[in-house]
């Protein structure tokens, strides 16, 4: 049985009393180490999401192959045009939402057990969500180019170049993927902190408020007969324009999560 040795700075073990000042309160170290807590299990953050992505891609390939083998002519063209509306990679975003929830729900309790402050934990975890969003965003961007270069994986299919993401220049794709990831991560984080602070009742109330806001927005748009305007706005903004607007709720969720968690206590 071996224990992985640590890479962080370690003072050589000296015999004698433990000096009362023997802490390591350097703030940046502690925040970065709090971030690292979120990706200590390589399986959870790298391999499992990649494997699921790979599996979904295989299923898609199979479907494309079935269509390819059985449909021909203009129907075939229609069908592959249709794959532009693919939501196949949506799960990656949900995966980040789950990471956000789990971090606030479980890593938080562990972090306090390691004597981190709530502030250090939250800032570190936010940093981790940022790193993961850029990493996942980078992978999806790369795959969107592979999809193009291989002419839709040989079938003209779409999984990473669907209409939701657009097919703009590289920075635009990276931005769309990353910002969308951040949105889901922090929605997860704020939900997780609400649960940590107020338990189920908190989530129910937050859910009810969100539903009322959405309903209000729908009512507003419907009564002013503005649905066509909304549609036009989506088309005019393009994926990156729409995603840019999500940065506002993302930032609000991130800030709210900080203040909600700052008075939360993990229960046994």
């Amino acid at each position: 049985m071996t224990i992985p040795s640590t890479t962080s700075s370690q003072t050589p073990t000296t015999s004698g009393p433990v000096p009362a000042s023997a802490g390591n309160p350097h703030p940046m170290n502690r925040i970065w180490n709090a971030a690292r807590l979120n990706f200590i299990n390589k399986w959870t953050v790298y391999w499992i999401p990649l494997m699921i992505l790979g599996f979904i891609w295989l299923i898609n390939m199979a479907i494309w192959w079935i269509i390819d083998a059985n449909v021909s002519g203009s129907d075939r063209q229609d069908a592959f045009q249709g794959t532009q509306w693919s939501g196949a990679s949506f799960y990656v975003f949900v995966y980040l939402l789950v990471i956000g929830v789990q971090s606030m729900n479980m890593t938080f309790a562990y972090a306090l057990g390691l004597s981190l402050t709530r502030r250090e934990f939250y800032l570190g975890s936010s940093l981790a969500f940022g790193v993961l969003s850029v990493a996942y965003g980078g992978v999806l961007t790369l795959l969107s180019y592979v999809e193009e270069w291989t002419n839709g994986w040989g079938f003209g299919g779409h999984m990473f170049t669907s209409v939701y993401f657009g097919a703009g220049p590289v920075w635009q794709r990276l931005f769309v993927f990353t910002a969308a990831m951040l949105f889901f991560a922090f929605i997860g984080a704020v939900s997780g902190s609400i649960f940590m602070r107020w338990r189920t009742n908190g989530l129910l109330i937050a859910g009810a408020i969100t539903m009322l806001l959405v309903l209000g927005a729908i009512a507003l748009v419907t009564f002013t007969q503005s649905w066509p305007l909304v549609g036009e706005w989506f088309v005019a903004s393009g994926p990156h324009g729409v995603v840019a607007w999500t940065l506002i709720p993302t930032a609000l969720a991130a800030i709210a999560g900080y203040f909600i968690l700052s008075r939360a206590t993990p229960k046994g």
Binding site: T11, A20, G23, P25, L116, R119, E120, T265, G268
Partner: protein, 306 residues
């Protein structure tokens, strides 16, 4: 959210608590407790389940917020204070770990936060506790889960270490191992240790100071040595015993037929002689018995409730 500036207090205590009260709704978990914990000692925080032990430790380690009162650890408020918290290791019986964690992940990440972490010592303890490091923590037995905490608490060598019922599910051999390693490492690297437990007799030899809390109130705050001699059981014929204990504070009374066994407070040398002349037998009272007497419970009740 920045922490308070260091304040110089006259006392050298590592922990000093004044009038600490913690309420959860209508329940008062800790009621106006005041005490100090001296550096480089092992203090026992004893009491029944729900007495408020864990709550006190949660407040001292910044995991929970005091309702009122002044709490200082290393001279500062511990809440959200990295300067204080980075010197604390708190091993909680109910500690939760992320679902996907294995013990190896704990031993990999804990050193990031404890400057004095001793990786060799941790590896040795893993061997000795026979802890499977590559199994999901969720799938560990209660004893193995406790071992994870015990190992972190010992190997972190934090200047202030709290063990909250650290041995749940550990068998007698493993518990003895924990006491042995704690004592040996403490001798080599003195530090401040707070041990909360209900297995009082098992740890009584380790403790230098004893705090007993009952229903949120601190009822005993004394050096263990003082406490050990603070009560004596007098055994003999009922009439002789009654004559001897007349006018004394009786902590406990037992009797069968014409025999009586009565626990009273401290006896000095003269009184001991007097008892011997009256044909009475004197026996010391264990820490556990004493605390049980003081918290008004039968021993059996105490053990089953804890």
């Amino acid at each position: 959210m920045t922490s308070s500036s260091p304040s110089s207090t006259a006392s050298s205590a590592v922990v000093s608590v004044h009038g600490l009260t913690k309420r959860f709704g209508k329940v008062t978990a800790v009621d106006n407790a005041s005490f100090e914990i001296q550096p480089n000692t092992i203090t026992g925080l004893l009491g029944r389940n729900g007495a408020g032990k864990t709550t006190i430790m949660q407040v001292l380690t910044g995991q929970d917020f005091a309702t009122s009162g002044d709490v200082r650890v290393f001279g500062e408020h511990p809440t959200e204070n990295a300067r204080v918290l980075s010197r604390i290791s708190f091993i909680k019986e109910s500690q939760r770990y992320p679902d996907d964690f294995q013990p190896k992940h704990v031993f990999q990440s804990a050193p990031w936060f404890f400057e004095n972490w001793d990786a060799d010592f941790a590896a040795q303890l893993v061997e000795e506790f026979r802890l499977p490091v590559n199994r999901r923590i969720k799938k560990l037995s209660r004893g193995q889960l406790s071992a994870v905490g015990v190992i972190v608490g010992l190997a972190s060598r934090a200047p202030l270490t709290f063990f909250d019922e650290p041995y749940l599910g550990l068998d007698a051999v493993a518990r003895q191992l924990f006491y042995d390693r704690l004592l040996a490492d403490f001798a080599e690297h003195p530090r401040t240790v707070v041990l909360s437990t209900h297995l009082i007799d098992e740890v009584s030899q380790l403790l230098e100071h004893v705090l007993v809390i009952d229903q949120g109130t601190l009822i005993i705050d004394e050096p263990a040595e003082t406490l050990r001699g603070s009560a004596t059981t007098v055994v003999g014929t009922r009439t002789a015993v009654d004559a001897f204990v007349a006018g004394r504070d009786v902590l406990h009374r037992d009797g069968i037929g014409g025999l009586a066994s009565v626990t009273v407070g401290r006896l000095d040398a003269d009184e001991r002689r007097e008892a011997a002349q009256a044909g009475l037998e004197l026996s010391p009272v264990s820490l556990q018995q004493l605390i049980v007497r003081k918290t008004n419970l039968t021993e059996k009740e105490f053990e089953t409730q804890s």
